[in-house]
């Protein structure tokens, strides 16, 4: 018995017990199915439905449904159709097999069997079934029994949603349903008309012309109808019918002044006469308000509607307030002024204890903010931020930040508000928001002193908000001298005395905070380096703090602290040049970058592993526009870690790659440290012979090939004029424009044609592709380099960069010397893993550096003609 099974399952104390019982039952059912036992078939199916509800697989019972449906008796069919609706959905092919039984049952002499078939069809029919069975359903719309007519009407809705082209067949029958007296038929008929209007403009026109008058009359009759016990809900006769009629009238009135005009009287009557003390009445009023606001303009009615919403908003029932907020949101586009009147109430709703209401209210308030009211509203919201629930803070912070940014006519106001948000809910501030703040601060040169002092004050009161600490540390590093000397003091500021020692203390606190993450610590390390030059007398102490990180478990911090220490000790000459204030960050570039954010992950490899200890694949730098845009989201790409910001800032690599530190570098240690600092990623042969200043000048003279270094040089403030927006532009293109390759894909991607990835007058690069068995995402590429010139290439180095959806691994090259005139070649293996396999094609940026005739050559190119489906 089914009851026994349910009892057994309910008696289970653990999930494991339940699974055991279900497994046993399923085994018994399968056995019974295999024996084709007719007597137990419907009982088996009933059990399976219960098991399915518990979330266990029951696909093996699907055929049983079909068999039950095909049997003659009503009880079997009833349980069979129920099983069909529960165990199958429209996407299963088995469903097609039932089409024939359905067709027979739709023509059955027993009207209850017809009803079962209509119900099943209405709930799960697919487009094919809709096409096959539409004529039957159409005929049943005129069936003598109203119970079949109403079922057929709802079934037709499903059919025209699945196959909109069938809509026109239903228009006439649907229109005749509107004249029905039976409420069930009338309700479903009105609903069918509404859905027909949505899929067919022909239907809309037809009903608008022929039925508006009748519908208005029906609505009037029902509004004025005397008490009828069968349909009465808290004093209103059939609110469902009210609501559906209002909905259909809305569709007909929208965009048609004439039709709108014909319904104004009855809408006014509904709006004024409906009782609003019960839910049913409010449901009607709610629908009526929406109709009034959607149809063509009638000033008087609109006032009525907005007043109803105002009453809703002050209702004590949370449900009513919720729908009021919802509707006011739609009303803002019509009559923003009227909605503004309720601003204070809406603001109260933002502070409600109900999360659904808060969210609605915040969304609405967001729309209501304009230049005139932004300041008081933001003030209120920020005050509320202090006391709001933890789970609401994220939403609230995001909205405040977005508003502050949108209405930031004065920079000082923007900075003030952002600092408040950072101190209040800095942990909820998204990376791009505080990055943007830094860009703005950098651009507001007259406010540098004010900002750094304000941040310092905020930092003293609380160090709990990560992003506040970051921005404060950055500003102290950049503008520490202004902090100490009270430069650019504004009238509104309280005087503050900060010694050089205090400033260094603050950064020390930041670096020693337990909660500081890698990014914050790395930023603090750089700030310290900068302060060492701003406050030469504290240079020793700063060195001590930096040295403490020498043993940090995070390799990157360890490496940087050793390098910074060396700069402090051995290179006082160019230290000050190295840590000069950052040039003003370009706002346009940043915002453009933010809009079309294209995160990149770059990995490089040395072609000469034997000579270069750094030659293992090691992430290098990201291009300059990434500076403030690299969200530290948890992309598992090996080359991008939480330290993106720092990685960009100085181009240092924060990810734990096993790269030996610059200090281990053999002979040319002095330049190597600097090269690493400049984040070139590894000592390229091309630079090894140059001094630091040479690198800079070459980066100015020879912009095209040096785009990457160029931006970095300026970032690390080695040269304030090294970067202009024009230089940044080509970098933004670094990985842009990856159109689909022109190559046709091969069947199943087994064999791919070789690709001439790059060819110039001096060099040719061929790619051969292969796939690893069982991992379609991974492509093995063998790159073959051929020298087309008559000179030997030395120190040959191939680097490649890919966007974030790809992962790239480079094996060492076969050699670093490429013989002249095609007399031999270098090969190197690449492994690319495409996380968007099948959706996006491969794309790659390559750079080739080599020496010929004692001259350094660098060639770059983007490859986007990879075969598809790699």
């Amino acid at each position: 018995m089914i009851g026994d099974m349910i009892r057994a399952i309910r008696a289970c104390k653990t999930a494991a017990e339940e699974r055991a019982v279900v497994r046993k039952e399923c085994a018994a059912i399968r056995a019974s199915i295999n024996e084709d036992d007719q007597d137990y078939r419907h009982r088996n199916l009933a059990k399976l439905m219960f098991i399915q509800m518990l979330g266990y697989p029951t696909h093996f019972g699907q055929m049983e449904c079909l068999k039950l449906i095909a049997s003659a008796g009503f009880p079997e069919k009833r349980i069979g159709y129920l099983g069909l609706m529960l165990l199958l959905d429209e996407r299963q092919e088995v469903l097609m097999l039932v089409t024939n039984s359905l067709k027979q049952d739709l023509n059955h002499s027993n009207q209850y069997i017809v009803g079962l078939a209509l119900c099943a069809l209405g709930n799960i029919c697919s487009a094919e079934m809709a096409r096959d069975l539409a004529p039957e359903v159409e005929r049943l719309l005129q069936f003598r029994d109203p119970n079949i007519r109403k079922k057929a009407a709802l079934c037709s809705i499903r059919i025209i949603k699945k196959v909109p082209a069938l809509a026109e067949n239903f228009i006439n029958c649907a229109a005749s349903l509107l004249k029905e007296k039976h409420h069930g038929v009338l309700i479903t008929g009105v609903q069918l008309c509404a859905d027909l209007c949505k899929v067919s403009s022909e239907a809309l026109e037809y009903f608008r012309k022929k039925c508006t008058e009748g519908l208005v009359r029906t609505l009037r009759d029902i509004v004025n109808s005397p008490y009828s016990p069968e349909y009465d809900i808290s004093g209103i006769t059939d609110p469902y019918l009210h609501i559906r009629l209002l909905k259909l009238l809305r569709i007909l009135g929208q965009g048609d002044a004439d039709a709108s005009d014909r319904m104004t009287d009855i809408l006014a009557q509904v709006a004024t006469k409906t009782e609003s003390n019960k839910n049913a009445g409010n449901a009607i009023l709610y629908e009526c308000v929406e109709t009034i606001m959607s149809i063509e303009d009638d000033g008087g009615l609109r006032v009525l509607a907005i007043n109803i919403l105002g009453k809703f908003l002050s209702n004590r029932d949370n449900n009513i307030r919720y729908v009021a907020l919802n509707m006011l949101m739609r009303a803002t586009t019509l009559d923003a002024q009227a909605v503004q009147r309720h601003r204070a109430t809406i603001l109260d709703c933002v502070k409600d204890s109900d999360a659904s209401i808060r969210k609605r209210a915040l969304d609405l308030l967001y729309l209501l903010v304009n230049d005139n009211n932004v300041k008081p509203l933001i003030k209120e919201l920020i005050e509320y931020l202090e006391v709001s629930d933890q789970e609401f803070k994220g939403d609230l912070t995001a909205k405040i930040c977005s508003l502050v940014e949108k209405f930031s006519s004065e920079k000082i106001w923007y900075i003030d508000q952002m600092l408040k948000v950072l101190s209040e809910a800095g942990n909820f501030v998204k990376d791009e928001v505080w990055h943007a703040l830094i860009v703005v601060i950098s651009n507001a040169s007259d406010l540098h002193g004010y900002t750094v002092r304000a941040l310092y004050r905020a930092f003293l009161t609380s160090t709990e908000q990560e992003t506040l600490v970051r921005v404060a540390v950055w500003c102290i590093g950049e503008y520490g001298d202004m902090l100490v000397n009270n430069v650019g003091m504004l009238d509104i500021e309280d005087p503050i005395t900060v010694t050089e020692c205090d400033a260094v203390d603050a950064v020390e606190v930041a670096i020693k905070r337990h909660t500081s993450d890698l990014t914050t610590k790395a930023m603090a390390l750089i700030a310290l380096l900068k302060l060492s030059s701003r406050f030469p007398s504290y240079s020793e102490r700063i060195k001590d703090i930096i040295v403490q990180n020498k043993g940090n478990v995070v390799l990157e911090l360890q490496q940087r602290s050793i390098e910074f220490n060396r700069i402090l000790q051995k290179h006082p000459k160019f230290r000050s040049a190295l840590v000069e204030r950052m040039p003003v960050l370009d706002e346009a570039t940043f915002s453009g970058r933010r809009a079309g954010s294209l995160p990149t992950a770059i990995s490089t490899s040395s072609g000469a592993p034997s000579n270069l200890p750094n030659g293992i694949a090691k992430p290098a730098t990201a291009p300059i526009p990434d500076l403030l845009d690299l969200s530290s989201d948890d992309v598992p790409a090996p080359s991008s870690s939480g330290g993106d910001f720092l990685q960009d800032l100085l181009g240092v690599d924060l990810s734990p790659t096993p790269a030996p530190s610059g200090a281990d570098m053999p002979p040319k240690a002095s330049t190597d440290v600097l090269l690493d600092l400049l984040s070139i990623g590894m000592p390229l042969p091309v630079q090894t012979g140059l001094s630091a200043s040479d690198i800079l000048s070459s980066s100015q003279d020879d912009k095209a090939p040096f785009v990457n270094f160029n931006g970095l040089a300026s970032l690390s403030s080695l040269s304030a004029n090294a970067t202009s927006p024009a230089n940044a532009a080509p970098m933004m293109d670094l990985l842009d424009g990856r159109g689909p390759g022109p190559q046709k894909s091969e069947e199943n991607g087994q064999a791919y044609p070789s690709l001439v990835a790059y060819e110039s007058s001096s060099l040719r690069v061929m790619f051969n592709f292969s796939k690893q068995r069982g991992s379609p995402q991974t492509t093995l590429i063998q790159a073959t380099f051929t020298n087309l010139s008559s000179n030997v290439y030395n120190d040959f180095l191939f680097q490649a960069a890919v966007p974030k959806f790809l992962q790239l691994h480079l094996d060492p090259a076969s050699s670093n010397t490429l013989p002249a005139s095609g007399d031999g070649s270098i090969t190197q293996n690449l492994k690319v893993t495409n996380s968007q396999h099948g959706k996006k094609s491969l794309v790659m940026r390559v750079r080739i550096a080599y020496k010929t005739n004692n001259k350094d050559v660098l060639e770059e190119r983007q490859i986007n003609n990879f075969p598809q489906n790699l």
Partner: protein, 161 residues
């Protein structure tokens, strides 16, 4: 349009699920888990609506059972509350002061009633009396069929004697 109807007990057990939009078995389990987390944790005085994946879920608690219906953003939430109540009243009439156990052991009956109320995610019948009458008529058809089978079995049994 109603995308699905869920009945969940206060302990998070599923008592009825009806899907009017296609969700795979895996998605269904996920939806139920997400929504029970969202709804069962809400306090008693809060509004009956939660926003979820760009849709709205209207729920109402009756004794130990939460009745949930998921609708489109532009549907009338207040009306859905009435529909839920409508369903509960019909269940009450049919079972005679219904309780959770009735719905567990007679879950198929709860489905039959729902099928007389909703098709394709739309309301089918505003009259409780009509719904009860139609379900009762079909129940009696089943009874008659059963009696016939048993009488036929009897006749065969007697003939075999």
């Amino acid at each position: 349009m109603i995308h699905f109807v869920l009945l969940i007990s206060r302990q998070g057990k599923v008592r009825l699920t009806k899907w009017y939009s296609p969700y795979s078995q895996k998605e269904r389990t996920k939806v139920i888990r997400e929504l029970s987390g969202l709804i069962l944790t809400r306090g008693p005085k809060l509004c009956n609506f939660v926003e979820w994946r760009g849709l709205r879920v209207v729920y109402k608690r009756y004794a130990s059972l939460y009745f949930c219906m998921c609708i489109d953003e532009d549907d009338n939430e207040l009306e859905i509350l009435e529909i839920i109540h409508h369903y509960v009243e019909v269940l009450d009439r049919y079972f005679g002061s219904v309780c959770e156990l009735d719905l567990i052991y007679n879950f198929h009956k709860a489905y039959f009633i729902l099928d007389e109320l909703l098709i394709a995610g739309e309301l089918q019948e505003p009259s409780k009396r009509t719904v009860t009458r139609l379900v009762a008529a079909q129940d009696s058809l089943v009874e008659t069929a059963k009696e016939q089978t048993s009488s036929i079995t009897n006749i065969i049994a007697q003939a075999a004697k």
